[in-house]
Symmetry: C2
Subunit: 328 residues, 2 copies
């Protein structure tokens, strides 16, 4: 079907049928902030909530994309359909391919049970949290059993993207000293599963022991985060990683914790999207309004203190209804 | 002067005189979101803009606090007065002391030319960006020549705190592989100066070479980021680090770039504070308003899609003026 001929109805049907072109088009509309995308997700929303969402995070260069590719292959062999969204700007997915990788990503692209999409981290009209949430809902409505969400483990927007995950997997590798320190200092949240990738590296055992030591400090949690050694390029350890993800899922499902987590996640996402919208609205308002620019100039000349400027900006942007100030 | 007897006038006088009790009280008022703090900074704002602000960032555990302590000692010997604000929750400053450290922080506390304050990263009524900005302006008005701002190198709020720095120093150590990868991937911004601390570590030279290799990828910048090897506990390399900071300052001052950077920084801070306020206003509004809670419940039951909920929340919170919805 040609690009122009999609209608709200045909797109909704296509997405629900798992049609790749319909999904690709729908997610592009989401990225463009097209009103049609909003209507589409609204139409499809009652049919969502069936997919299981797995967030895969970690510093750049640890092999998240390769591990995801290996996980996709693994769960496909189990007959599960998968949607992958990468919001990591440093991900090979974002460059369109896993270059030099032994796992042929093209296999996945030909597989009707797999849909892979990378999303830019900037330039979304409604912010990254909104775009990734909407894209996930589309893949969910498309009947994907599993959603894999790749994010790089830094920054607020990435945290918001991870916020929809049922299970969070942190990927580290030998040399991930900063992440270990961040876990230890309580600055990084303890994930549900940890994969130490590049297990053939001579320092892999050292890293494993460091991760173990850090996790042992936190004995009070109900779920004890398992650590798995993997070698994504060879697909080694991927079966065990998958088993641990499934264990975590079973743990959540056993006592109703999954429903509770999803409730909390959804509320958190709505709040994150609203915050991002408020921020963008502010950004546009200040850019467009010469009076607001004048306030900033006065601050720069030390004639007006920053907080008074903030108060005047807030009042003008949010609390005085005028024409043309609707949120974008 | 007793805690209760500070007035707006006596506080302003005390802060301007560099009185430690006045400064401590004023920053506490900032942290509490007390209206008096707002008035005080407004009164003092025309006298700010003289201090030079140095942001010191990096992963936890690399020795930022010890390095700052050594820098304080170094610049004190040069006769400069210093204010330190730490917004790193994992910082030893936040625990009130550098335990087990050879540099006696108590020396600094007794020195009238030094003021050190750690600020919590949570719980500020106006957000961390606002609290740290106001605290810095107070130290600036108190006549401190230098401001050192310690932040842990992750998260949006830390980026906002760093946003007021004239010079940004990134501290790494052997094992900081994740930070190297983040720099390489362009996910972490290139700082103005890099200190590789713990230079006595056997892997220090390797780390230095890795940092060099990453920086060599980016040859187009006007300022070439210098790398300094330090051993903060012994104070080694601190003179060279200080020299590089001074070089960067001279570079900025030479062609008017400092004024430009400060203009951009101030505008960015005003925007960050306004965004944080909008977010908190939203948070409180949703917490207080049963109608907004009902919207979230409908989302959780899949009866209302998230974006429609966001739109209704935005409309109700920001764009319909009613009694009792003023921003807090």
């Amino acid at each position: 079907m040609a690009r122009e001929s999609w209608t709200r109805e045909s797109l909704a049907e296509g997405v629900q049928a798992g049609d790749k072109r319909a999904l690709a088009r729908a997610i592009s509309l989401v990225e463009d902030g097209d009103p049609l995308a909003y209507e589409l997700v609204r139409d499809l929303y009652p049919q969502t909530g069936r997919a299981y969402a797995i967030g895969v995070t970690g510093p750049p260069g640890v092999g998240k994309s390769t591990l995801i590719s290996a996980l996709v292959r693994h769960v496909r062999a189990l007959g599960r359909s998968v949607g992958v969204i990468s919001v990591d700007p440093s991900s090979p997915f974002s460059q369109g391919a896993l270059l030099g990788d032994r796992i042929r990503l093209s296999d996945h692209f030909l597989d009707p049970g797999v849909f892979i999409r990378s999303m830019g981290t900037r330039g979304h009209l409604g912010g990254l949290a909104e775009a990734s949430l909407q894209a996930m809902l589309l893949l969910d409505a498309a009947g994907k059993d599993l959603l894999l969400l790749e994010t790089v483990g830094t920054g607020q927007s990435e945290v918001e993207v991870l916020g929809v995950s049922d299970t969070v997997v942190l990927v580290l590798m030998p040399g991930s000293g900063d992440s270990i320190q961040a876990l230890k200092a309580g600055i990084m949240e303890i994930p549900d599963v940890i994969a130490v990738n590049k297990r053939n590296h001579p320092m892999a055992k050292t890293m494993l022991n460091e991760v173990r030591a850090v996790l042992s400090l936190d004995r009070d949690r109900e779920w004890r985060t398992p650590i798995v050694l993997t070698e994504a390029v060879e697909g080694a350890g991927v079966d065990e990683l998958w088993a641990k993800i499934e264990e975590h899922r079973a743990h959540l499902e056993a006592d109703g914790a999954l429903a509770e987590r999803r409730r909390r996640n959804l509320a958190g996402e709505v709040f994150a999207v609203a915050s991002a919208r408020a921020k963008r609205h502010l950004e546009h308002a200040v850019a467009d309004d010469p009076e607001l620019r004048r306030l900033l100039d006065a601050v720069e000349r030390r004639e007006l203190d920053p907080l008074t400027a903030v108060r005047e900006i807030m009042e003008r942007v949010f609390f005085a209804r005028r024409n043309g100030t609707e949120p974008r």
